[in-house]
Amino acid sequence: MDEAGNGGGNGVTKKFMYMNRKAPYGTVYALESLEVVLIAAAFEQDISVVFADDGVYQLMKGQDTEGIGMKNFSPAYAALGDYDINKIYIERESLEERGLSLDDLQALTWEDEDDDWKEKSSLHLVGRDELAALIAEQDIVLSF
């Protein structure tokens, strides 16, 4: 992440949303989106990450990629909390349509510095109206 050094922010803070709508492994978008978010973490911006449609499969527990010869990158989502990326939204309807619940997804947490470093969940289940409102207030939406 040597790119982070250049900062580039000039003090501007924008609301960036990363919208993930694809299943992992069938295409590279999930992995390369995560790479963007991890780089973005080093810039002092207001970051949200959304998992909607087939994007919810990216967080499935128990991914085992040995048989397909690809790297299982799902453990890397845990790093989001280390970078204080804790606004992670799961669209409720997408989850339900796939017969899934939050229990099927890996837990993602962060430690709240302002609350005695208490460990809190970064995952927020949102309905579509709430998600629509969140999208509407962004400056940048990147869709993968």
Binding site: D2, V12, K14, F16, E32, E35, V36, Q45, I140, S143
Partner: protein, 130 residues
């Protein structure tokens, strides 16, 4: 206004690069500034200088190179995506012990931070992809 573009697919297979190119030209015609065009995912394949499309077809890499020369555009290929897909400049080739490079004039290779920075510095970021 200051605009940046993100191009996520290679030339020909998807229309993304064509659309981005035509959008860029229209924006420049209207007097806007193109702060950066960032090529990610298969988009890095736009940066090859080895393409030889049929005579009666457009040569997208060349169109981008020409537009960059004319308007001093900043065309950036994501280094990680480019390495995976075999797009190298002279330095990258030397560094990785490869015997050839294939990047087209007007393109440079840099990190993903350049995409975020483009988002911060530009008034708008428009994505073209699959």
């Amino acid at each position: 206004m200051k605009l940046s573009l993100l191009v996520n697919e290679g030339p020909y297979t998807h229309q993304a690069s064509d659309s981005a190119y035509r959008f860029a030209r229209a924006a420049l015609d209207k007097g806007h500034e193109i702060y950066r065009v960032f090529f990610y995912h298969d988009g890095v394949n736009n940066g090859t200088r080895l393409a030889v499309p049929p005579q009666d077809d457009r040569n997208l890499s060349q169109l981008w190179s020409e537009l960059a020369a004319e308007h001093e555009l900043d065309l950036v290929l994501c280094v990680a995506a480019a390495q995976r897909r075999g797009l190298l400049d002279g330095d990258e080739a030397k560094r990785h012990g490869k015997d050839a490079d294939n990047i087209a004039p007007g393109f440079r290779i840099s990190g993903l931070g350049q995409l975020i920075e483009a988002g911060i510095q530009s008034d708008r970021l428009v994505t073209f992809g699959d």
